[in-house]
Symmetry: C2
Subunit: 197 residues, 2 copies
Amino acid sequence: MAIKDSNTEQLIKDTAKRIFFAEGKLHATTQDIADAAGVSRTSLHYYFRSRDLLLKQVFNDALTGLTKQLYALMEAEMDFKEKIRQLIDLFLTETIAFPYREIFLITEMLDGDADIYVQKEKGASKMAAFLKQIEAEMEMGTISKMDPTQFMMNIMALNSHPLVMRPLHKQMFNLTDAEYMKKMDERKKIICDLILK
Amino acid sequence: MAIKDSNTEQLIKDTAKRIFFAEGKLHATTQDIADAAGVSRTSLHYYFRSRDLLLKQVFNDALTGLTKQLYALMEAEMDFKEKIRQLIDLFLTETIAFPYREIFLITEMLDGDADIYVQKEKGASKMAAFLKQIEAEMEMGTISKMDPTQFMMNIMALNSHPLVMRPLHKQMFNLTDAEYMKKMDERKKIICDLILK
DNA sequence: ATATTGTTTGACAAATTTGTCAAACAATAA
DNA sequence: TTATTGTTTGACAAATTTGTCAAACAATAT
């Protein structure tokens, strides 16, 4: 038997992720993906049976990739402000690598008008625990008081949004790519300053 | 001649906007749009010739809808902090009505891998003028100093992102729709507080 | 060597989506 | 009335996208 030395399956999935998460081509066809991976479209069907099943795997990987490290950091034992700083750093790094991952998730959830994907998100309890910690730190005066959920939403928004909106913001603010990335680098400090009072 | 009493053309375009901007169904077909508008797909072709031309109109309307009121407010003469407050209010109101309008623009720009749309954005000068005003106010100490572009990005991010991410945030934070909208209402004040030092 | 198993692909078929056209229809003008 | 013009649609055609299948291929086991 020919054992898979090149691992085509992983190559196809990684290529799909690159196209969807990094390049933001949400309308990509199986042909687009196969071409980008340098394999025939039939290979894609051999490993994933259908476009739909490939997308389901990509979807689940997106959810995992988005939450896994995040939740791990939330549970970590360390100085609270330092934890927030690392959270912002992690979020920004991930978003630079995969700016459109969240959007992929959202659009996939919305156009199969079902909330079929809602399950298995057992991370909600970890988030809840972290929200409690935030609240406690607010009571202690480490950071200024507000609804902890809003606090988290602020962090996510400040990190994600500018990277997603890059094509639009580039012309609104009349920026080159180099200037844009420079601003994104500077953002880490700006966000920390804004969030940490 | 039969003058258009019902204005099917506008109905079709408005329906398309609703599907794309409000419902976030970025993969909607011409059939989806025609069905939702209660007309035949042929009518859509009668008025717009092709799917592509309809989308181009919708795209331009999205750009206009996003920037027109915004730029008008930026140019208005009024107390600076009040202007910022109204800016946040306008942004939030618009985003609640059309959460996925920006995403539609972005994905359309990205998957026709060209920057064909880049032109005609003559609003960049208005934005530049407003950035200058922000900088001046920072010098005067009205708000704390930072890169004015980053200041604007912060406002946009804090407004838009949570509404776009609603399907995901709902389960991450374990919220009902009612709870979610309540938080969105509360956000106006939270964002003002955060932005206006 | 041959057999066996897994991989890859081209050629074909099915399904979906988009585009075209002529006919039916409605409303007013003459 | 009939004619004219604009609107709407069903039926058909074309194009695109997805899915299937048998054959070719590669690598190892016997």
